[in-house]
């Protein structure tokens, strides 16, 4: 009986969160398109989200590409299908691993930082101060970060795609002895615009998810340092779960026929 009560409480808490998140999301969307805009703030967050995430995304992508090539080779060699490695690497990276790995890595870096920053502003009355200065906190704090996420995640994924494919190329050519020209040709032949585009759309959605979760949990934090810590944890946990859920939904939309 107690287990059922516990499950019920978790379910009700989930519904309450969804109930709070929906108007927050709506308000954020409206403020993203309605002036006044804060281009300087948007630019600052674009640099923070895009430029400073490049090392972590690049490293993740190159190792993912290298491992993928190696694993594919050990598997495909059993069926004498080593030639398909280039196709597997490029399709996996562009469709799936690029956006998902970049999303997950940046969710940890940016989601935590947004939740901690906005959460600290909440508990130190800085958000109240914004309101008293006739500045809507949703417009000044949330909208620029979401716009920056929406724009910069696809850029990061594009970089991850290139670096990931290059990682696969390095292993295939220098470790497995593939012909460089043949490998690149097979990569190019099998890659279609839809593969890259679907990854970029996923990236844009993941960008909104990560920034929205960071902002939402930070904005609603309370109770001092402990509250900020809890908000940060919630942001870092919720964003990856949502990323993986939406990854499946978007994959269904793009490729399930």
């Amino acid at each position: 009986m107690k287990i059922l009560q516990h499950i019920g409480r978790i379910f009700l808490a989930f519904l309450a969160t969804v109930g709070r998140l929906a108007p927050f999301m709506g308000s954020a969307a409206v403020h993203c398109v309605r002036p006044p805009f804060y281009p300087r703030t948007v630019l600052r967050h674009m640099v923070e989200i895009g430029y400073y995430s490049l090392p972590v995304v690049g490293l993740t992508a190159i190792f993912a590409g290298m491992v993928l090539a190696l694993q594919s080779y050990t598997g495909f060699a059993r069926f004498s299908a080593e030639g398909a490695i280039a196709n597997v690497v490029v399709l996996s990276i562009t469709r799936e691993l690029g956006p998902v790995l970049a999303g997950l890595m940046v969710a940890g870096r940016i989601g935590a930082s947004l939740a901690a920053e906005i959460g600290t502003m909440r508990v130190t009355e800085q958000i109240d101060a914004l309101t008293t200065l006739s500045t809507n906190p949703m417009k000044y704090l949330v909208a620029p970060r979401i716009i920056a996420g929406l724009v910069m995640f696809p850029f990061l994924v594009l970089v991850a795609d290139v670096i990931g494919v290059y990682g696969g190329y390095l292993v295939a050519v220098y470790k497995l002895g593939f012909n460089p020209a043949n490998y690149l040709q097979r990569t190019y032949e099998f890659l279609q615009a839809e593969d890259v585009n679907s990854g970029l759309v996923k990236a844009a959605v993941f960008g909104v998810i990560v920034t929205l979760m960071g902002c939402y949990h930070g904005y609603h934090s309370k109770g001092g340092a402990q509250g900020v810590g809890k908000a940060t944890t919630n942001a870092v946990v919720s964003a990856p779960i949502l990323i993986l859920s939406f990854d499946y939904i978007l994959t269904e939309m793009f490729f399930a026929r």
């Binding site: 009355e125 309101t131 008293t132 809507n136």
Partner: protein, 258 residues
């Protein structure tokens, strides 16, 4: 606005958080150019009263008029217009720690795009001078300043847009007595210079006596006494007497846990 219309008028303002009633029918008037200080113990509803006026909290029932205009339940756009009349000094200063001091001071002007950054920097320098800080302080970040300096910067920010009404939330809390007196002097000087109406909340009686034209005492979510500052020692109210003399014995019982 008529001549005898108060700048701020609160009538039967009530606010509860779940079962806890914090404001239980607040009635308060603040005249044009008047400096009213609301005193009261911790948890008596002082901060909630100010937050309801500023729109940071929505009153459950009752009426709050600013220059005769009802602000309870107004649309967010109208709220932004009303808030342009306000300046607010927060207890914790609440400076934006990602911005330099000068950007903090002129934040409201920059956000509304009333001035460009060069003009904003000049205005910030003049406001900093008003609170006794040099232009160079404008280049620092809030974390690099002492508590007293942060309060002064927050005061400069509160007056940057020449507000009609300035709110002071515990302006001297956390400051040493000398710095507290400096802040009190600045509040008196600046409200006179700007010609603003002031509503302060504090439990510091030295501060209250110095900055108030009139004092009101809040207890259990209601205003139980109000009158000119000079009359507070002859209020004839047991609660007020106990509070202003800081006595443990009296009608006000503090919840003390071992």
């Amino acid at each position: 606005m008529t001549d005898n219309q108060p700048k701020l008028r609160l009538r039967d303002v009530r606010k509860a958080f779940g079962p806890k009633v914090v404001l239980d029918g607040i009635d308060l008037d603040v005249g044009v150019g008047e400096s009213l200080v609301v005193i009261g113990g911790s948890g008596s509803g002082k901060s909630v009263t100010i937050k309801c006026i500023l729109g940071l909290l929505e009153a459950d029932t009752g009426s709050i008029h600013v220059d005769g205009e009802e602000v309870v339940g107004i649309a967010s756009r109208d709220r932004e217009r009303i808030n342009r009349k306000f300046g607010m000094l927060f207890q914790s200063a609440a400076l934006f720690d990602s911005l330099a001091v000068w950007e903090n001071v002129s934040f409201g002007l920059l956000a509304e795009k009333k001035v460009n950054r060069d003009q904003a920097k000049e205005i910030a320098a003049s406001k900093l001078a008003q609170v006794g800080l040099s232009k160079e302080v404008g280049e620092f970040f809030p974390a690099e300043l002492s508590g007293g300096m942060q309060k002064r910067v927050a005061l400069a920010r509160a007056i940057a847009a020449d507000p009609e009404i300035i709110f002071f939330d515990e302006p001297t809390t956390g400051l040493d007595p000398i710095m507290a007196d400096v802040i009190n002097d600045l509040i008196v000087k600046i409200t006179r210079e700007v010609g603003a109406t002031a509503l302060s909340i504090t439990h510091d009686m030295v501060s209250a006596r110095k900055i108030a034209d009139r004092i009101a005492m809040i207890y259990e979510g209601r205003i139980i006494w109000s009158g000119p500052t000079a009359e507070i020692d002859r209020s004839g109210n047991e609660h007020v007497d106990q509070f202003i003399h800081g006595r443990a014995e009296g009608p006000i019982k503090m919840a003390v846990r071992a």
